[in-house]
Symmetry: C2
Subunit: 252 residues, 2 copies
Amino acid sequence: MLERIRIVLIGTSHPGNIGGVARAMHNMGLADLALVAPRCEVITQDSISRASGADHLLHQANVHATLEDAVADCTLAVGASARSRTLPWPMLSPRELADRLPTECQPADARVALVFGREDSGLTNAELQRCHAHVHIPTNADFSSLNLAAAVQVLAYECRMAWLSQAQVDTPFVAQSDDDDLATHAELERYFEHLERTLIGIDFHDPAQPRQLMARLRRLYLRARPERMEMNILRGILSATEKAASTKQLKP
Amino acid sequence: MLERIRIVLIGTSHPGNIGGVARAMHNMGLADLALVAPRCEVITQDSISRASGADHLLHQANVHATLEDAVADCTLAVGASARSRTLPWPMLSPRELADRLPTECQPADARVALVFGREDSGLTNAELQRCHAHVHIPTNADFSSLNLAAAVQVLAYECRMAWLSQAQVDTPFVAQSDDDDLATHAELERYFEHLERTLIGIDFHDPAQPRQLMARLRRLYLRARPERMEMNILRGILSATEKAASTKQLKP
């Protein structure tokens, strides 16, 4: 289970924090670290010192230009969020997230991304809206900003607790899930692009006056956790819609 | 509840870690920090920087020469331990500890100490044996040494989760506990001193060949969580024993 969980850090500015994250991950048995557009060097004296023996995670870390690249193969993306946003998203506590992880991680191709934002400003709304759900670590209302490595520590600890409880109840014969494969993040994103293009094409959506339309649709579909086959159906509907609309436009 | 929980750091050597602990505590709503014989300056650029706005906890921290002083008024002391020791002690997971906290913290004079050891060597056996129980944060067996601030973060997070679950179920009318007052740590220590003196006096115990006798007795009594009245009874027994033994020795 733990090998299917990826920690994604976006726009980190302090090498020491990346080192602290590596140490927290290795302590809890996580190994998959992805860095999106880091705003600092990754391998420095500070990061190696704070990693304190877990610096192989720094060397193995995958660096990506965008969040999309970092989570393209993920079946679940959860964004760490300190604030409640204008458009509420499914919100989990770290414990609620942990309770779901054994099931989420069961399929062999499952990949779960836990996404953390910048030290100074967290995740943007656009980034949060690319996640299926948000996780909020409960904090003192007067002092809510956790250190990045501390936030990763709490979630990594919950991942390990979930894994341990799973390990205790595991029997040699696990019933095969008959769920179809979940759509990956990349497949969902292709769908959202297609959807927006289609909605513009049919004059339902004006990007100059977005009114959170796409955000609301994202929330809806991400919450539904579409399977690959369902995704194919939805995209088929869009293609059919485009085709019908262009046919209509050709008519007088 | 949270105001009755004290974080005790023994022999810390890096100011940055004390700062990180202060930040983790304030984030989770804890405020009572005690430092036992720190091996570094407490207020430095590093500690203030890592505290990141929680440096009032550094200024308010009580500095003590010994663990006994730091936990003298505590009704429960729990030591963070990475290793299983030669003499096994009651061992809790952070979650099991958290489950007990609402009840432990209910009496108005309850004080719970969570005790953390040195960055390089943790708590000594003598220190661990002054605790009622030990708490072990589950870690990767190959890389088990957590950063000090990360360890405090995990336990402080569990404290907050326990407090939140308590806050949810709290009703305006809480039944008064009819438990008698628990003995404080200082009362227990006075008892153990008295007990050892008595056992030596009656030739049961040879400090030159201790054979973990006192450790085993400590474990027994700490596990029993004696009330103050029971403590008085036990000490009365010791006094009576001493008196009887000296009377006997005076006889030919």
